[in-house]
Every structure is written in structure tokens, then in C-alpha cells.
Symmetry: C2
Subunit: 364 residues, 2 copies
């Protein structure tokens, strides 16, 4: 069963698969975008065509996530790693504390960056169990006076995901890098949402920030321009030259998702895709072992182990021969990680499940 | 005289024209890079093919600029604006001062960011004359004990450029965003060179830093990861997900420049291209007035004014009809700015010069 353009099933954790239709459109316009006589890569960010691309991407993301009017959408650089620092630098002022709910490697890094700035409180850590679970927010003691509460909705390395929007007293900040626009969320419950593009939205190099207006007023004066959400908001993401091509590609992806049932449609497909693999894990009588607790299982990153390292190596090798690419798990969990973000096709999950059955039958 | 793909002559100040051959190669591989079964945009940054792309880009840039072995090349995010802050945060420690040579709007911003951190000294400013000139370095009193001396080799808005590598006692830091790889430089005279890609190297979204090893040792501990050159160097630009596509495009451009005579070849073409326009300015008996003093004229951004605003507006309008795009000058200088970076073709400069003669003859 060959894919178009002889492409492989790309299970990479990000950067990762983009929709074929989106890539085709980008290719079509690569040397001359819509008769403008130049590529999007060559376009002045101050030109009308690029301003239109940016405005449309913003409007489409707003529509996808039903973003209320008292929020700004920013397209920044530096990835989630930049956000790990910008958030405490802008919001964790002296005499304040912030609560961090850490359910994996990315939350850990966010917490460490905050600790460089001020009083970061590790309100929850799942480290002892190698991050195989998520807590209930209402079981954790949080400081209602905190500058903010930070959590990571989906942890790519460990494959654990929050499936509901939490309710907390303090402003809620969420790293949605790996599950943004993969499921409906109630944006109004969040003060700030951020996400690197390279899982569900587009190529690496752009980071989306959705920030509530009142937060912008909390930013201290004399912030470094590049670190200042308020300055970026005031200049509609154009204080400095934005990563134009990555924004353009995100825009094409937003349009694609809107045309395919929005985030509700994406969510339905993602539930089904992940179920195909999780059912296989559970059906092989312990040959495959899921890393995450059932209720914390991620629809984006399916993590599981095999009986031993030799079988894992063999599994990855045989999978590659079947054009199932990028399945090797992260060293901190081992085993296999199948990353199946929005653009990853159901057929790829079915092909993996079929191979898993065959492999388990052969080696059980 | 139509260009391939019905493209225009794009005089934008950046992002700007890329070589047609480079865009064609990117298009060719857009859905399946060299038989890998995926686009470069979809490739894990930890994969062998992307590691090879990054290593080749680094090696080719090293070759182009003859970078000595005691320097690291980094591909970062955030543009020059991010560097404006990273440099003082990493190197302008307490009790130290840094000298800033400001010859235009970008140098001004670099200076302002440094002033947020510590003792930034405005060693030279050309502001009084609206940045129409560059000083001789040896005529300026610089502090030999300074943490560093910072300057901007080419100012895009005002169109002034240093044509020689200065010699100073303190570590020399240069923003080469708008003229990197457009001319030979002696890298060994610099402690740190940085450049946003979007003028001479590739699409917006990646910033090249060339940093001497001993500088890495001066960075204080507990720096924020995203702001820490040492951490980026230790992880060969892969501490966090790099802007893969932009790096790939830069790599294609480096290869293109290497195949076309290297930076010496580019320099020869750039001198000739800019001469075609400057000669026209000087030959119209004052109808066009160059903004920059002759010895400071930039080979990258040719800035000039017309007798009045009406004629300027008419000039831009008629030029656009001839597919000479993006000529409107920045508001702080007014008039016309023709940005003619490496990839801008000689034919475009000749077409502009021809139109300038005709326009001057008609309206003189």
C-alpha cells in the first residue's frame, strides 16, 4: 500500500507529518505566490500579501479554538523553550510564587526556567513513577494567590495527557505544544496558552501564544523587547521580522483543519487513531506494555515497551522496512513511541497495529 | 523582459529575493526529500538526514567565510533582536562597560537593549546627520578594557556600510545581518558575528552566530537556556528544536554561493550591481540625491531621494508597473531604497537604472 509521492508513515515526535494537500499547495506557490511574482519566503513582512497571510492565520486559529475577543494571538520565535523563560520573566515578580504541575520532561524544563527567576513551587511531580500518570487538579493543593499555575497538557516523551481543562483560582498557563488544535479546549479557562508549531500546526520555527489582555498589563517596564509579550501584541507579532514561512505553513494547516471538521473533527480522528494502537497493546496479553496509566493515555504520543531491548531493536528495524518510520522511543522511557498528531493518517495507525499483531504473534 | 515564473524584481529590504535555482531545488524535494519519504519540514531534527543538512550548512558557511577552527557556528531563533539582548546578558557583566558604535537604526536598538542590562557606552552616534555616514574606527575613543565593542556593518534603513574590518583592542562584535556572505571578511578580527538570515542567506526565522570559543567561557552560570550561547554550542544548535526549514534553505543558498565564486564572486557582483544604480544617481545632476556619503555607500541598500514627495510616489507607482517591486524607502529616510542583496540579479539593477534615467529625463 504505497502512499502518494512514495512517502513513509512518519511517526516522529516533532517535527512531523504535515497534510499532503498542504505541502502540495506550498509547492504550487513556491516560486510565485498567487501571482505576486515572488515566494512567500521572499516577501517583505511589511507587504500587504504577507500582512494578509498573517491576519488570516490569526483569524483561522481564533475560529478553530473559539478564542474569545479579550485574547491576543501572537506568532513568536524560540519554541516552548523561549516561553519557559518568558513566562516567569514577565509574570513571576518579586514576592510572588508560581505553581508548577509537572507531568513529564517538558514541564520539568518549564519549572527549572522559572526557578531561575523566582519562587517556583513544584506543586506536583510525577517523576517518581517516571511520569506515567496525570493527577486530578482538585486533589493538588494550589496557592490561590499564585502569580500563575503552569502545566503541560500533553507530554510527548512519556505519552500522558490531560483530557479536560482544569479549573483553578490563579491564572492558568498551559504548554499545549503537542496537542493544540487536536481537541476542543475552553480557552476562557486559560490566561495564557503557548505551543511550538512543529507537532500539530506546521514546521518548526514558530510558536503560537494566546494571551488574555489583562496579563499584558502585568508585564514589568524595561523588559527586553524580544521577551515582552506586550510589545509583540502591540505590533501584531511584527515588532521584529517574524518567521514568515512557518506562519504561512501554519495558516495552510489551519485552513485544512477547518475544512475537515475543525478541532472536533480532528479530535474524533485522533481518538480513533490512538484507539487502534492502544487496543493492540492491550490485546497482546502483556507482550506490549503501555507506559501511561489508562486514564492518562495520550491521543498524540502512544508509548509502549517490548519484553526486551533486542526485540525493541528488531521491531524498529522491521517497521522501517515497512515504511513505518521514527518509532524508536525516547531514551528516558525506552521502547516505542508512535507520535500520531493531527496530520498523521489513520491508515498509518492501522498499518502499525497490523505489524504489531504479527510481531507479537511471532515473538510471544 | 520577463523573468522566469513571471517573477518581479524584488527590491525588498528583507525578507527578499532568493536564487531561483535554490527555490527550484526546494520545490523539487518538497514532498519527498531525496527519497527519504518526507519533506524537510516534516523531518525529526534528531534524524540522520536533518543532522546531515545542519552539518553541511555549517561546513559550507565555514568554508565561505574561512571561519577559523576556534569559532563555533550556531543557528538560533529570534533574529538580530534576540541577539541585541543575548549579547549584553551574556557578556556585559557588572563592573564592565561595552562600547557601541551606532551608525543607524539597528545599532540604536542594539544599544538600547544593552542599556537595559548595564553600562553601555555610546562611543559614536551618527544620528545628528540622520545616519548618512560611517566613522573611521581609529578616530573614535574606545575603551580597551570594554567587555566588547559593538557595531553594525551595514545599516539597511540608511544604506551605510563599513567596507573594512576594524581593528580594536576589546572583543569586537558585529551585526552583519544585512551584508554577511556578501563580501570577504576576516573572521579572526571578530569575537562574535551575528546575522538574521533574511537578507543574504535564506528565509526569515533563523539567525547565524559565529562565536569565538573563549567568549563561551565568559557566560555567567544560571543563564536562561534559550539565551545561553554556551548551551547552544554544546548541543550544536539542537538544545531545542531548531528552525529546520530555514536552516535547510540557508544551506541551499550557501551551496549556491560556493558554486558561483564564493563570497569573492558575490562581492564582485554586488559592487557592480550597486555601481549601476549609484552611477545613475550621480549622473542625473541632482535629480536623484544619494542619502549616504560616497565612502559609506552600501552595496546592499541604495538609498536616494527625489525632488519631492509627489515625484517619489509617482516613481514607485511607475516602477511597480514595470515589475520593479518594493522600492519605497523607509519613513525615516524617505525617498527610495533599492535593496540588492546577493541573490538580486544584475538585470534588475539595470532595469531600475534605465527607468531612473527615463524618469529623470521626463521630470527634470
Amino acid at each position: 500500500m504505497n502512499q502518494p509521492y512514495d512517502r513513509v508513515y512518519n511517526f516522529s515526535a516533532g517535527p512531523c507529518t504535515l497534510p499532503v494537500e498542504v505541502l502540495e499547495e506550498a509547492r504550487e506557490d513556491l516560486l510565485n505566490y498567487k501571482g505576486m511574482g515572488m515566494s512567500v519566503m521572499e516577501m517583505s513582512h511589511r507587504s500587504k500579501p504577507f500582512e494578509a497571510i498573517l491576519a488570516q492565520a490569526e483569524a483561522d486559529l481564533k475560529k478553530l479554538l473559539k478564542v474569545p475577543d479579550n485574547y491576543k494571538i501572537l506568532f513568536l520565535q524560540g519554541g516552548a523553550t523561549m516561553q519557559f523563560s518568558m513566562i516567569p520573566l514577565c509574570f513571576l515578580g518579586e514576592g510572588k510564587s508560581a505553581d508548577y504541575m509537572v507531568t513529564g520532561a517538558w514541564g520539568e524544563k518549564a519549572f527549572e526556567a522559572a526557578a531561575l527567576v523566582g519562587n517556583a513551587n513544584l506543586a506536583y511531580s510525577g517523576k517518581a513513577a517516571n511520569y506515567n500518570d496525570i493527577p486530578k487538579f482538585d486533589s493538588i493543593k494550589l496557592n490561590s494567590d499564585a502569580a500563575y499555575v503552569h502545566f503541560t497538557s500533553n507530554e510527548t516523551i512519556h505519552g500522558v495527557q490531560f483530557h479536560e481543562d482544569p479549573t483553578v483560582a490563579a491564572p492558568l498557563i498551559c504548554d499545549m505544544s503537542s496537542d493544540i488544535i487536536s481537541r476542543p479546549v475552553d480557552v476562557s479557562k486559560y490566561a495564557l496558552i503557548y505551543a511550538g508549531a512543529q507537532k500539530n500546526m506546521g514546521p518548526a520555527g514558530v510558536t503560537v501564544v494566546i494571551i488574555r489582555d489583562d496579563l499584558l498589563e502585568r508585564i514589568p517596564a524595561k523588559m527586553h523587547p524580544i521577551l515582552d509579550y506586550k510589545l509583540h501584541a502591540k505590533n501584531t507579532s511584527m515588532y521584529n521580522t517574524p518567521p514568515c514561512w512557518s506562519i504561512y505553513m501554519c495558516g495552510l494547516v489551519y485552513k485544512y483543519i477547518l475544512h475537515h471538521g475543525g478541532v472536533a473533527g480532528a479530535h474524533e480522528r485522533n481518538l480513533w487513531k490512538s484507539k487502534v494502537i492502544y487496543q493492540t497493546i492491550d490485546g497482546t496479553h502483556g507482550f506490549f506494555k503501555g507506559h501511561a496509566e489508562h486514564h492518562a493515555r495520550s491521543t498524540m504520543n502512544v508509548t509502549f515497551t517490548l519484553p526486551n531491548d533486542e526485540l525493541t531493536t528488531e521491531f524498529v528495524k522491521e517497521a522501517e522496512a515497512l515504511k513505518l518510520d521514527g518509532l524508536k522511543g525516547h531514551r528516558s522511557v525506552g521502547g516505542i513511541r508512535a507520535s500520531i498528531y493531527n496530520a498523521f493518517p489513520l491508515e498509518g495507525c492501522q498499518a502499525l497495529a497490523k505489524f504489531m499483531w504479527e510481531f507479537a504473534t511471532k515473538h510471544a
